[in-house]
Amino acid sequence: MSQTRMIAGKEIKVNDEGYLTDYNQWDKQVAETLANEARIELTPKHWQVLEWLQEQQRKEVALNIRKVGASGVVDIKEFYSLFPVGPLKTATKIAGIPKPASCI
């Protein structure tokens, strides 16, 4: 179900869990705000991870922790230190891409 909420002064379409449903509405302010809500301060390393995630999304790669660990951008340990709680769920939300569907 799609609804909208105000993020960084803009009306943004999100789903029940707060993930953006229209990636075109994503920008850096949106990311900053969502990161803030997750109590994360975005450093250059965070941005690198977010960009990598978005690139995978464009390539339609199904994401999981193992792939992040093999990304060459961060290892899993670092990924956890950057996004301490539910890293993949948090990072994808901030990146404006869908929550990774865990395989069946």
């Binding site: 199904a62 999981n64 922790i65 193992r66 792939k67 093999a70 899993i76 340990k77 990924f79 956890y80 301490p84 709680v85 539910g86 890293p87 769920k89 569907a101 865990s102 395989c103 069946i104």
Partner: protein, 412 residues
Amino acid sequence: MSMKRILILGAGTAGTMMANHLRHELKNEEAEITIVDERHKHYYQPGYLFLPFDIYKPEEIVKEIEEFIPTGVKLIKCRINKIHTDEQYVMLDNKIRLDYDVLIIATGARIAPEEIPGMQSEEWHKSIFDFYTFEGALSLRNKLREWDGGRLVVHITEMPIKCPVAPLEFAFLADSYFKQKHMRDKVEITYVTPLSGAFTKPKATEALDHLLADKNIHIETDFAIERIDPERKVIVDYGGKEVPYDLLVTVPTNKGDDLIGRSGLGDELNYVPTNKATLQSVAHKNIFVLGDASNIPASKAGSVAHFEAEILTENILRFLKGEELKAEFDGHANCFIETGNGKALLIDFNYTHEPVEGTFPFAGIGPLRLLKESRMNHMGKLAFKWIYWNMLLKGTHIPFVSTNMQEAGKNF
């Protein structure tokens, strides 16, 4: 049609079914069919769930591979070393070379405990067990027979795994096993998963989370294991969270066989990228993949392999005649979930429809009920063993159960 060489790699659930289907459809002068497996025995893997609890005996779940390979199909028992796609042949460990026109990969998935530091330690099969192998399930049975209680942790390392409900069923069966032994009060059961709930599909997760709570099984979600400390007996996740255990029953990382990686055909977990509707490999037109070996987003289950085999058989016949493939596989899966105390749930779903409540296989009638605990479903689960040995492997169509999922009778 000139004589074609069809080569099947793996004589487990999927490969055996394909051998039977294809031999039935193709005359000896139309196709030479060969199947290769390194094992001598065929294991009924769903039985690994029951073996630890003394519900099945080892001899009920192991038979000779030969019994299920039809006459007119050549069975070679040897380890497969490498697939050479450029020249279209397969090399076996004994240096035998097998040329093919059509290759069917059915080498399944195996556990890879070596992926997690501390898992395959001194304590492997002492206080840390798997039940995804015959040896693991059997040594766990012996352990459970004498175990006097403590903290039992049932754990999934990472997804995807074969039969994704099996660990949950294990936790449910453990609950009823210890109740029967009058020692449930001495055992604390915790279910640890990398997922955000008991299962991957929302409606089923709701039903299953509820059952866990009913049975007093604690659940620890979003747990991405980094390592095991076998001395302190704790599992540690990347975020530093620790869960202590006395007895750890884990499902290690599942991977395709190394053969796939060595042959340059796999993804990061050695699964073969495969078209999810036609079951043709993405990289090579004359290579087809079914069962656990493929990367399609369907459950890794015997029931799925059964539905796939029916569609793949048609596609291979079309391919041999130079016709276009049918893009039909819908991801249909049908799984019984043992919930303990002689009851089970049944779920039926596909790529696009999650498991919901309803009746099966006859809309409005049943007799099986979807996503609800019942004794009838439990009988269904036990009957599955007979169906597996006597119908599934031989490629017999199961009456009333369609290859593609039916929407009738389901409450979407």
